[in-house]
Symmetry: C3
Subunit: 356 residues, 3 copies
């Protein structure tokens, strides 16, 4: 069961070339992305209404897609505009279409009630393409429910254990970090400070610190139901980080979109952007180790999914679960609201009742 009335990342923009097609299962539904003659994106259910063949076996012609089995043609709204060999088009001949937007190099899709879609809800991530920063992105198909990835990101005490060979540093630094969790308009925010801590090897490899210990911070924003944006940084200790001073800081912005493919598989779109380090060439700014870091997370959540498949209960909560539990409550509230909306319209003032 997925939240339908929300923007999800369906693809990186550059995955869909000119006049190209991209077939991908999202939220359990087969989706076909394609570009119309003027280069704008369209998205249809990837299933011909005649005999069920995925439309991705056909081809794009102008603004339309023609099925590769018997040639029925559909426009970007999903209406059938041609049935070979007959004049009359059956009224039921149409396929569902979806709203799509392109923003910050990502393709966003709204698969629920189009009348509730609001472009302002698309989460911005302006650093994609910023020449002052080094940027790396990829998509991992993860064999786990999307919420297990959100859980992972919302509790960064895992960094000292899962990533101890890469970005971790000492586990103590993470578990003893000051942590504050708060509810936001669209989700949950976790703020963490690790003052006067030992820098992890991967930090020292890309940044010149002038003190043996550093101050680190992490701002983790969850936008329900599937986006986590993380702003982290590190500076020489006692040089004003807490007061907002950022000169000569190592900055890292992460953007994570965990879009359900099915209940137990997820398209995990991740990206990382890091401020250029002064005095280094572009070639020295590489972020390739991120591939390893996110693969470490993938391994953990996949093992977790397999274990929970075998035995989902019981689970015990600890203090650092606060962010994760907040995120899960938010998603549960959205699901409940959508279930209720089948009976009556949901108005904002009713959401609290639903939650309660």
């Amino acid at each position: 069961m997925f939240v339908k009335n929300a923007w999800y990342v369906g693809a990186w923009s550059d995955e869909i070339g000119d006049s190209g097609m991209l077939a991908r299962t999202l939220l359990g539904e087969p989706v076909l992305f394609y570009r119309t003659a003027d280069g704008t994106l369209a998205a249809l259910q990837d299933r011909c209404c005649h005999r069920g063949l995925p439309l991705s076996h056909g081809r794009v012609q102008g603004d339309c897609v023609t099925c590769g089995y018997h040639g029925l043609t559909f426009n970007r709204t999903g209406a059938c505009v041609n049935v070979p060999g007959q004049e009359r088009i059956p009224p039921a001949a149409k396929v569902p279409s979806y709203l799509v937007r392109e923003s910050d190099g990502m393709v966003w899709i709204w698969m629920g009630d189009a009348s509730q879609a609001d472009d302002a809800l698309i989460v911005s991530h302006s650093f994609a393409g910023n020449a002052e920063w080094t940027f790396l992105k990829d998509r991992y198909l993860v064999n786990a429910n999307y919420q297990l990835i959100t859980d992972n990101l919302m509790d960064l005490t895992h960094v000292g254990y899962v990533h101890n060979r890469t970005i971790g540093g000492t586990p103590q630094a993470h578990s003893e970090a000051e942590s504050k969790t708060s509810v936001t308009s669209n989700g949950v925010r976790v703020e963490r400070w690790m003052m006067d801590s030992v820098p992890p090897p991967s930090y020292c490899a890309v940044h010149k610190f002038h003190t043996p210990r550093i101050d680190r911070w992490m701002e983790i924003d969850f936008f329900a139901p599937s986006i986590v944006r993380i702003h982290t940084g590190a500076m020489d200790t006692n040089t004003g980080a807490r007061e907002g001073q950022r000169n000569d800081a190592l900055l890292f912005w992460g953007f994570n979109a965990q879009t359900p493919e099915t209940e137990t598989t997820t398209h995990y779109f991740w990206s990382g952007a890091r401020s250029h380090v002064p005095g280094r060439s572009i070639g020295e700014q590489r972020l390739d180790s991120l591939r390893i870091t996110f693969a470490e997370d993938k391994e953990i959540v996949e093992a977790q999914q397999a274990s929970l498949d075998l035995q989902p209960e019981p689970l015990v909560m600890i203090a650092s679960d606060a962010g994760m539990m907040g995120a899960r409550r938010r998603v549960a509230m959205m699901l409940k609201a959508e279930a209720v909306s089948w009976i009556q319209p949901v108005v904002p003032s009713k959401l609290d009742e639903v939650k309660a």
Copy 2:
């Protein structure tokens, strides 16, 4: 659910060598084909009644098969004739046997009520082995329900889309063909004429036409529940094809037996026979491109099955579905008749009532 009282193609004759065995799942049941001492075929359920081991792990001895686990021996009727180490054979010790016939290079099997079997219902295809024709055959294991393959064959407007790189020609020629569908004693016939049309590349490669456009015809016979025989041809346009003139025609006879393995997998036995083209050597008569053509169909129906698994409904009918719908109605009628026969004997005069 499959029609049981019918002849299905279980194998090509040459798949079962002298004293050899062939194990194959048909209609969801494990079947063992073997040749007895005099070379005639026998077919038993491939499951020893003692501990369930497939008999195909044992070996043929004379007219019998001996199980490879504890040595129980069964004759071609499925009766147990030996239990090692004991004199008495338990009355329940037997395995089901099936009727088998060999005809036109194919092994036919009847897995239902033997008392209803009629050899006259075996569909003939005399061109197998005819030296005046080039012949090619194969078996594809297709990951789709057998009726999706029948559907494919009964609506040849797909040729212009699925096979546009091989035997297709222009889609318009196919969708604008004159088409007539009629019910026959055993199934459905579709006749199609494509007069004055552009010859597809694959036709020109094997035949010398003397006019830039040609007349094409297709006679598609469905024999319920699983056989489709197709006679097609092409000639110089306006040289008498419609009147039955066939001199210097390119003729092609196809035979398709889609035998269910399971509900979602099918043994697709296909063959093609083409008249020799005068003036060409035997080596120039090759039909290898058929492998590609049938692989194109396989790809389509497998994608269709996966799509329908995800979402079977809704589907919209169009005009060219007439042949396919006729074939499906016929199979549904047979299934209904077999369901009713559990309660009362079905006599021919009752079939119409069942249908109604």
Copy 3:
């Protein structure tokens, strides 16, 4: 459904090195074996109680295991002894632990009610490591229910059919063997004598017989629910085997532990020990052909499982099934006793009632 109150072989001792871990699913449950600081074995459920990650993704530290996700630490009893970042340990924070023993080079595990565990029930097999004998062992993961392997071992008439290329000899010799089945305190015993029989090729390859025919014996002991110990031997015919004379005999001791992984997969621990043949070097004592013999059994029971998955019924019993049926009755009785024990304590005198 498995008997829980029993000792199962969980591993060969040498599979778990110093400070190493071994993760293995047993009886459908994930188990983590590890050695504590002093080298003794411990076994925990391989599932952290916090977020479900298998503990085998973490690491051993002293007598404890630390989870590889957020660092919770458990001791050998399964009690949580540390939660990073918080003082208080939630009372529910614990994982199940299991009793383990090491004996004859095997790791034994008791996964049921610890209060009912009795070390005296561990089956001994003292030949492991005896320098006078040649010893070979391995573990096969078999895609079949564990009882199908027991069945195989309890009816050795299969040897003439399944192993006719290796240890078989003539099928007649096996099916005509004198056979006696009796119930023992813990299971079932089958004794078999094959007097004056033709020696199989594999026997002649490793032993010098002085007569063209030999006397063979087989003592098969089933210890419910999962152990089969087999003592076999062969001697020159008419030299006193029946009277207990064993000088210059070929002796073979087999030990088979079929531990369920799931309902349809089994960890099959097998070993064979053979008396050294006088006059041969150690290098000539090899038992490598056992790998082939047990692989032949694996192939049979896997084919049987697949066949029974398709159609479990009917099965017909024959005379040589006596040992197998006795073993199955014993396991059924244990299962019934455990089911009853949920309602009332089972005392030994009640077991007969349960059986009846």
